[in-house]
């Protein structure tokens, strides 16, 4: 762990759950760039993304007591909340499904590894990004639409104009390849 981190993600979350304002502020500071970045990529509007990001931290506070570290890292748990909140907001504000190409642009971003990232090493994040780029285009598109856009298999099939079974296969094949890549790094 980075020596500059005086508190683990879990301890900050516990502090958030107990109502400690200092822990809450530190928790928000630690994760705000990731949460806002993901929200902005999904909703495409800064004002809406700010509202989504705020709501994400409120939901995290409400459900913090139910977090179980054996189910996954704090960052992943929080970003799942952010993803779902952003997808819900996106559905309410537009009558048509979100633009997959906008979500696909996420695959082209390559931010510097977060030095405070305790969930995965920078090396693992980089390896996973490379594995994602190395996927066949159709599998990468389907996975990104699902993981970041929260699109169902049916929505993906309609967007890509492919049969439902093909969409399912692309997602499953993509995730199997990424699993292999992750296993190689651990």
């Amino acid at each position: 762990m980075d020596p500059k981190r005086s508190h683990s993600d879990e301890s900050l979350l516990a502090g958030l759950a107990s109502g400690d304002p200092d822990a809450a502020a530190a928790f928000v500071r630690r994760f705000q760039a990731r949460v806002f970045g993901l929200a902005l990529a999904i909703v495409g509007d800064r004002a809406a993304a700010e509202e989504v990001a705020q709501e994400t931290f409120v939901r995290a506070w409400k459900h913090a007591g139910g977090y179980d570290s054996r189910r996954g890292a704090v960052a992943s748990w929080l970003l799942t909340i952010a993803r779902n909140t952003a997808v819900d907001a996106s559905r309410h504000s537009r009558s048509t499904p979100m633009d997959p190409d906008a979500i696909l642009a996420l695959a082209e971003t390559d931010p510097a590894p977060n030095p405070e990232d305790a969930a995965m090493t920078g090396h693992e994040v980089g390896a996973l990004r490379e594995a994602l780029k190395g996927l066949p285009d159709d599998q990468r598109r389907a996975l990104i639409m699902a993981a970041f856009g929260g699109m169902t298999v049916r929505q993906i099939a309609e967007a890509e104009q492919i049969p439902l079974g093909t969409a399912k296969t692309r997602i499953r094949s993509g995730i199997l390849k990424l699993r292999t890549a992750l296993e190689g790094e651990r």
Partner: protein, 233 residues
């Protein structure tokens, strides 16, 4: 929905479950199967790990000025989750611990039950769930046959996993409400004393008094789970 129905298509659903994009019907079918299929359960855990890691590769962007201050102020204005809801989750886990501890070989059953509860909770969180209850399913007063799970989400769900039953055959699954009414949910077939069942529930977790599996041949409630009342908050 019976175990035979649940065994189909679940292989194709594991990736969707892990990514949180499965429909509610598909989720019910898959989760009922996962209750007794270790292979699919392990695959779901692996895929969930990948799905979680994928989110960590997303972009970062500095939020607008004063974002941190606004969030902390908003937290100060937001009502906390009711204490009775936190106790419900604790009670549910305690129910599993208390009932299982009395069994021979209870440690193995306890570990599997808690893993299953964690898996269900993780998977059902996409429904903005408010609580998961796990209650021992008893065949006699002292003999536990399985576990009943009740989930309070956007749509309440009930799952029943029978692993140690002494009876086989067809059973009607019914809920008992706190007002004394009976709510039929469907049927389950037990083979070799084992089976799974899953269904949306027309009543919430907090209205449930218990769940019964009634043997169709005799009309007798053979398997029973009691749901403790939620303490007033």
């Amino acid at each position: 929905m019976t175990d035979d129905d649940a065994r189909e298509h679940v292989h194709d659903l594991v990736a969707e479950l892990a990514l949180g994009i499965a429909s509610e019907d598909d989720r019910t079918r898959a989760l009922a199967h996962l209750g007794t299929c270790l292979k699919c359960r392990r695959e779901l855990e692996d895929f969930t790990s990948v799905a979680d890691a994928l989110l960590l590769t997303g972009p970062e962007e500095a939020p607008p000025d004063q974002f941190e201050r606004k969030v902390v102020e908003r937290l100060g204005r937001t009502p906390a989750r009711p204490p009775w809801l936190r106790r419900t989750i604790a009670l549910a886990t305690a129910a599993v611990l208390g009932a299982t501890a009395a069994l021979v070989g209870g440690y193995v059953a306890l570990r599997e039950d808690l893993e299953l509860v964690r898996l269900y909770k993780r998977t059902l969180e996409v429904s903005d769930g408010k609580g998961l209850g796990a209650f021992p399913l008893m065949e006699t007063r002292a003999r536990r046959a399985g576990t009943a799970f009740a989930y309070e989400g956007a749509t309440p769900w009930v799952f029943v996993v029978i692993t140690e039953g002494r009876r086989s055959g067809m059973f009607d699954v019914q809920l008992r409400t706190r007002r004394g009414h009976r709510v039929p949910l469907g049927r389950v077939k037990l083979t070799g004393g084992r089976g799974t069942f899953g269904s949306a529930s027309p009543i919430s977790l907090f209205e449930m008094a218990g769940l019964d599996l009634i043997e169709r041949e005799s009309g007798t409630a053979i398997f029973t789970a009691e749901v403790p009342p939620v303490p007033p908050g």
